[in-house]
Assembly symmetry: C2
Homo-oligomer: 288 residues x 2
């Protein structure tokens, strides 16, 4: 465990025998801005290592929402895994229009690397979560090297593309109410349109289009993805999530998409906590 002097511990709070710790560091991927994350560190014996499960949050969230509200810690403590909770965007970048709407910019980095030069210095959440942050955590904590990823809504989109675009990096992916086909929904159109220079770049950050492209190229991928979706989620009706498109895309591939429509649940952390045990067990099993 190398000591990284760039990583400052802001807070350490004991919980269920482990600790939730908040760190801040200067992120090169995010243009030199300060970035914060929370990490649940399970109780480990001397020399013991643990797997890492990263959760990507949704629009408007920070590194706080999941760790405080999802009910995940009892299960992470039981299975002795790290829970890694990054923020959802750079903060204080000062880019145009970043603070005008809740669904673009601050709190809404959409897990892409911006190519539009108005955003490209700072808005690189794709590289931040998949490269910089994981390397930082592996360098500074007793991790096993095994990682898995899940997320909610915009972060569900982030988890799915992170998994599909990085074969071998993550053990599996799961998602709660993910934005499955952002190229075709208002949230995706807004963020892709703002962050990316050309419409041709969109599909590379879209889970449904990634699977479709794979099929077109005659490639396949063996995978087992868990998705939970609440039937009373207003964003489902508003066609922001489009799980049906991802389900259709996965047909004829080796991706087993375990899609569960849960009667009466909405888009909130109450929905997330209802199925948290299943999701954590899904990842724990995949990391075995």
């Amino acid at each position: 465990m190398a000591e990284n002097k760039a990583l400052s511990k802001v807070k350490s709070q004991k919980v269920l025998g482990g600790y939730v710790e908040k760190y801040i560091h200067t992120s090169s991927t995010l243009g030199g801005l300060k970035a914060s994350f929370n990490l649940f560190i399970p109780h480990l014996a001397d020399g013991e290592k643990a797997n890492v499960l990263m959760f990507l949050s949704g629009l408007t969230c920070t590194e706080e929402n999941f760790i405080t509200k999802a009910g995940a810690i009892p299960h992470a403590a039981e299975h002795k895994i790290f829970l890694l909770c990054p923020d959802t965007s750079p903060r204080g970048a000062g880019c145009p229009e970043e603070d005008e709407n809740w669904d673009f910019g601050t709190g809404a980095g959409f897990y892409v690397n911006a190519t539009n030069q108005r955003y490209s210095k700072f808005y690189n959440m794709y590289d931040y979560v998949n490269k910089e942050l994981i390397a930082l955590v592996n360098d500074n904590f007793p991790t096993s090297g095994k990682i898995s990823v899940f997320g909610h809504s915009m972060g569900g989109h982030g988890a799915l593309i992170s998994y599909l675009k990085n074969p071998g990096l993550y053990a599996t992916a799961s998602a709660y109410a993910p934005i499955c086909n952002p190229c075709l929904c208002p949230w995706g159109e807004k963020c892709f349109g703002g962050f990316l220079d050309s419409k041709e770049e969109w599909a590379a950050y879209d889970a449904t289009e990634l699977v479709n492209a794979m099929k077109k190229e005659g490639k396949d991928m063996t995978a087992n993805i868990l998705i939970d979706q609440g039937s009373a989620d207003g964003f489902l009706e508003k066609k922001q999530l489009l799980p049906e498109n991802l389900i259709e895309a996965c047909k004829g591939t080796s991706i087993t998409l375990n899609y569960r429509l849960a009667d009466g649940y909405d888009h909130s952390y109450y929905f997330i906590q209802t199925f948290i045990k299943d999701h954590i067990e899904h990842h724990v099993n995949a990391m075995k």
Copy 2:
């Protein structure tokens, strides 16, 4: 289940097979102000009734903190109990100095009935939680009639005095890091001094003094109270909590005080969630 037209449902969110519902009503005890509470309603069969466990929150909290952050719902769902989460003070009373400090007034009702005429129309949280709110919930939901109470910090104080002052009403009490002897700590002195006309009234709202008075009067009470306290809780060191005084008072009585000092835990909801299973089981067993 009588329909109370004064009780408005603001929100209903499904969680773990039950619902967290937020209600607002006009409170006569709080001078006609609107008051909000959250209620977890477990999944019940037709005609089935459930016990009620009320949680009183600490300084600065609202009806939201416990229900979102304590990790209580999985256990309440398992044991099929209601979780009742009131606010910590009247809101918008317009009384002098109520918004000048975080530890007096708004968010800091201290579970007393004010006698100082500057506050006495509105600041009656003692009667609100012990009388008005419980009657309202019993009138409007399929409750069994069995109730129990717990709380945190200022709310731990509230839970202890509510239990001690109302023999037979609550099955038991438990508390996280409660203010055990408010007559002798800065928080208590400030709130009692502000809300109550005379210093002679203070002891009637102080758990340690209530037990001392009971002993003096030759009375006794059979009880089993659970208190968890984190050893890294800064307010313990600052002598705001004074559990040692309550422990001393309970000696020679029939009150079994199960006081547990938990190594390394602070005053936060991470501490609360660490021991939530024990607390809920303590109440479930007492309500059997």
